[in-house]
Chain length 356, copies 3
């Protein structure tokens, strides 16, 4: 790993403070419809950054389509100085989402991006590195899946995943060291640049993905919604499953609510994750994050992942969720919640607190 | 069974009639967020009753958090004379929900609770006793699962459950008398006080849980929503299932709509259940109830349970469901519907009709 | 197939143009609640056509119940001259839905129905004939399932279905010519009048049913929602499945959103289907349609069916979907969207453009 010469938070905060008419911008992917829709509801101009052909789909959803689009040949061309100049000229505050982080890279965002982003950029390094993620969840005191240090230690079913989320694509399961070896070789043939696999116990139970929002201005952590990701394996019972390397690809999301008595655990988990983030990378997590959990009657919740930015599951709730209704009178999506926090910060001249 | 020396409906009605500023109260569990949220939308003050530590979670949802909380060491401490005095002083009308009935007990509610409750307390005795439940559904003319009188009669898969809902925890299946015997012994080792098991044919098909509301004031039975409960077994296809005694534990709910032509059956079923309740325990059922059904193409709907109070599946719909939209202009949850009925009763000086 | 002496579009358009107070009408089934609810929100009087006993259920949903009901002994009695006279007298514009087409018949609608219908009646012939449906999807350039021309060609699992949707009832799967033969014989014994079976490769993956609306007035094709149909097979993992001929019966629908990057494919697919329809049966498709697709990580989307009228999955969204929120400020169901298009047409004196 190379050392990172970070662009200072101070520089980004000064930039953001000079904006006279802040535009909310993001890459045309992942949850951009929701982000633009929410920004518009809160009165912000919007700016999309997309490759040729990306903007067509967005025009099909006029209330969630960006006011202006900046065309780039590839998403990471966002980093080019000339592109950054244009974004600064348009007074863009960028919202990182899953594809944003995946295509531009957490390191690049910290080292090269002079355009202010919503949130704490350090968070992205902690969520994209699986070892750091585990460390974070452990520091928060949350139950996490047992890790299997060496393939030879495999006893019973293990879940094998690789660095980078990629929507579950490429994950597989194995029950013996031999099965693991065989599947890994097949996987490497198809994915030349895959990194080192992580092996975890395969957990049974019911998955819940909880959408949180930490507000530094209101000093509270909100539960804005909940979903279940729809993976190919979820329809495998309709037929013989396809090759296992494809089973866990996420293609959509479905809504869910959890038993009310479990909310106590989930509220506490969110608070603990925020508290731990303050110790690990001050000032800690800002804005949306998601805990990916699995509930089992005899074990309770185990938290197998954290996404420390807006997740695609929030796309279920552009007009609010069964939980956001208990927090806001208006229909409140996570995209709108981000814009609302920015608006509150502008009103109180506290925008620098949201840009780190 | 001991004979019940009921507190008379007349006493409770007189108490309720003396209230000048009625507060809607319930235990901090199950569907309390929705009940408080709905009460607030209809303009009522709210009162939570919770154990130490229960109220923290509720504060995380400010629009659904009770205005005041009364702390009790355990939920059934609600019955203590001093606690009841406080509740009466606060002019509480209590809303029974699943955990309320489970922790306080249907008999205790009828014998010892002098604080008025929404609805007909006799209903709770009919819904918590599985034999009475069957009798009720049979009197309503609804198809119910075949009961297997003796373990030696087991032919084909049976579903084994125990008194008290407990969210499906503890239910198991068996295919032979020997399997039943073995599993029952294992179950009894873990659950010393479990009552006598009920054996029913295991029904295949698609489960629908229909949320009804019977309004004595509007003289109609409404369908306010529908859900599917999410049981551990629902993700069992992702791996070898866990020990069977845990399979049916409910941890959440997901939304669903049914084919429109089936609504005719479901509307009729709701009306029949209300009509039967009037004959069995006058003045019959008041307010929310749920029919738990399973649809099979060759059999139609079979109704395997009834919950005669607000169910947790309604937590999906704090801003209304695909069915409540056809009944109310405003977003109408079951929690709000209860408060609306109380408000209408107060306006018309008919509150005693809702308290039995 | 008999030649069709169509009632001319001109005649229907002249009829519609003479209406002074247009009423939106449909058969009491399928998605009628949503259609009436939407019509009422847009200010139209509504007219139900139902058999004795049909209207009772509708009265249980007062905001979605028709203002007036015309009773017929059977749904196809709608075609009787006297009934048509009454409908014309009531100034009915009829909305075809799934049961409407199934019970009245696409040919009958084109040959015998003098009451104006919303949309292009030619569409119905193209959607009810499976060979034409395939032709349409192929002309639109969409990936479709491979067809197996002869039972002797069966290699691997095939999906066998029959003419007419009937909610998936009667479809079965087979893995060998012998299994196919055996199951077909059993099927024919139970269904004397079933037509010729269609054999397709059985596709694995995750199903998405996309609800579109093509607006000739706004010259755009909208995605108004998305669902997953709930088939008996979807709960088969809870037990041994029932006889296979029942597995695919649809009894309900559940909500879903798709990964945002897949929307590009789905927007394009909708546009292509509309463009192809203009070439195949000018002026092409008008109003709601649904593409039934299955997503697989290695293949992307395959489109296995098209429904060229409102589908029952839209019943999930009487107050709008996660997609309609990006198109309309108000809660917009497909039923309301139809009424909105008619209202816009009346305001602009363009109603004939919607009646073909």
């Amino acid at each position: 790993m190379t050392t990172i010469k970070e662009i200072s938070a101070g520089e980004l905060q000064r930039t953001a403070s000079r904006y006279r008419r802040l535009a909310i911008g993001t890459l045309l992917s992942h949850s951009a419809l929701q982000i633009f829709h929410g920004a518009r509801l809160e009165g912000f101009p919007t700016l999309g950054i997309g490759r040729p052909g990306d903007s067509g789909m967005y025009r099909a959803f006029p209330l969630a389509s960006p006011d202006r689009t900046l065309e780039v040949p590839r998403f990471d061309a966002l980093l080019r100085p000339a592109t950054q100049e244009k974004l600064l000229h348009r007074q863009a505050l960028l919202i990182p989402h899953g594809s944003f982080v995946e295509y531009v890279g957490a390191d690049n965002i910290q080292e090269k991006l002079r355009v202010p982003c919503f949130g704490n950029r350090a968070t992205l390094a902690w969520e994209t590195d699986r070892a750091k993620q585990r460390e974070w969840l452990r520091r928060a005191g949350l139950p996490i899946p047992r890790e299997i240090p060496r393939p030879s230690d495999i006893r019973g079913k293990v879940f094998v995943k690789f660095p980078g989320a990629k929507g579950g694509h490429g994950a597989f399961t194995a029950k013996t060291p031999a099965e693991f070896k065989r599947k890994l070789a097949a996987f490497r043939r198809r994915n030349k640049n895959a990194g080192e696999p992580i092996l975890q116990e395969f957990l049974t139970g019911v998955r819940y993905y909880i959408h949180y929002f930490h507000s530094p201005l209101m000093e509270r952590t909100e539960i804005l919604g909940m979903d279940r990701r729809l993976e190919t394996v979820d329809e495998s019972y309709r037929n013989l499953p396809d090759p296992p390397e494809l089973e866990f690809t996420v293609s959509g999301n479905t809504p869910v609510v959890v038993r009310e008595k479990f909310l106590r655990d989930l509220v506490t988990a969110g608070d603990s994750v925020v508290a731990a983030s303050r110790r690990l990378f001050p000032p800690g997590l800002i804005g949306p994050f998601c805990l990916e959990s699995i509930y089992h009657p005899s074990r309770g919740f185990t938290y197998f992942e954290i996404s420390a930015r807006i997740v695609a599951g929030t796309n279920l709730y552009p007009t609010g969720s069964p939980y956001s209704a208990y927090l806001f009178e208006e229909p409140m999506s996570t995209g709108r919640r981000i814009a609302r926090e920015i608006k509150l910060a502008l009103e109180d001249k506290r925008l620098p607190e949201l840009v780190h």
